[in-house]
Symmetry: C2
Subunit: 228 residues, 2 copies
């Protein structure tokens, strides 16, 4: 029997689902049978983005809703929002995130004439900050590095790169490790405890810097993982 | 004509050349025709480490010397020292590093019961700290992530991973990009300005964390670089 048959499907809310990163991830998950709700401050814009995905995937289960409604109905909530305003947004959604698997893809980056750089985040990382704001939140950091353009593109899988996953809740981390399949065709790489998000988040600055230098869309692959 | 014929050879001092990372890098460079001097606080220990390399590479030009003497005679100086004591050591060698290509491989890491983590470095990164201490130093950050054990091992090339290089001096950075050939068989990846060392240095914590989880020696490869 194909392994695919055993993959669990989830009801996933993508907060910030109208942004390029969120929409790209939502597209990949919807394509692989997950039920996806895009969240936005505006239900209309969330529905418009869901329609864009549905146009590409007529058989998918994808819809749009205001952020709180999207989060309330989901098993897994993905934070794909800009760092600017992140803390207030998470605080406002905290009741709907309590006890759930919450995956943060947030990249706290700044840009100046020298290029991109990692911002100094008071709580260490966006993922740790969210963990501190959500009661019983099962925070995971993952999907920081995949390019929005590539996610939305035609490649069947982004199998030239890896999704790195960190977290302190092993079961929640396992969900993100599995959800990586829809993106890279393989397990996400368990990179350790939640505080490793301090390295994963600003690593995006390295990739953007490489992209600029080589006029490419770079990705990060981890070599040496057994069984690959 | 083979491209190899055009590779420049350098007289390289590896400060901290008796440590596993420094000795491994020195071995790779010596193997590829560079003239390597291992530096240590003790000339005797530096010579002993040089002998170990010479035992494996009878045709190589490799020697050992006290750190200052090693640095004084080199065109390229590689800092492969622990972060603990790094600033004082760089200060003590500053006159011998002035105006030279200086490649920092220093990883400021801490370890506790949650695993490895990036230390808070007052100057942003070890490489930037060294740049501030060396008059006219042409600082480059590179070779942070290659495993000491793999460097010293039997693999012809570590071609499953990349050397990431950052710096503000384009010519100095080009030297490190080229020196990566002896390790990975290909150019190092230009990851941008020197301050990107703030991301490159603690990324080693991610790899060590993965190594522990998967009982492996992981490496980082960058996908999407043109011409590969």
């Amino acid at each position: 029997m194909a392994r695919e048959a055993w993959v669990t499907t989830y009801r996933i809310a993508v907060i910030g689902g109208t942004g390029p990163q969120g929409k790209g991830l939502a597209y990949r998950w919807a394509k692989h049978g997950h039920e996806v709700v895009l969240g936005s401050r505006s239900a209309d814009r969330a529905e418009a983005a869901a329609d864009e995905i549905a146009d590409r995937l007529p058989d998918a289960t994808v819809s749009g809703a205001e952020n709180a409604e999207a989060a309330a109905g989901a098993e897994v909530v993905v934070l794909a929002v800009p760092y600017d305003g992140h803390d207030d947004l998470v605080r406002s959604l905290a009741a709907h995130l309590a006890g759930k698997v919450v995956i943060s893809c947030v990249n706290p980056l700044g840009f100046d004439k020298q290029g991109p750089y990692g911002l100094d985040v008071p709580g260490g990382s966006a993922a740790e900050t969210a963990a501190a704001l959500v009661p019983d939140g099962r925070l995971v950091g993952a999907f920081h590095h995949v390019s929005a353009v590539t996610l939305w593109g035609e490649e069947e899988y982004l199998d030239h790169e890896d999704v790195l996953v960190c977290g302190d809740d092993a079961d929640a981390k396992a969900v993100a490790v599995e959800l990586a399949h829809a993106v890279t065709s393989r397990d996400g790489v368990d990179a350790g405890r939640l505080r490793i998000a301090r390295q994963l988040e600003p690593w995006t600055a390295v990739l953007i810097s490489i992209n600029k230098r080589y006029k490419t869309r770079s990705g990060t692959a981890i070599s040496g993982i057994p069984g690959r």
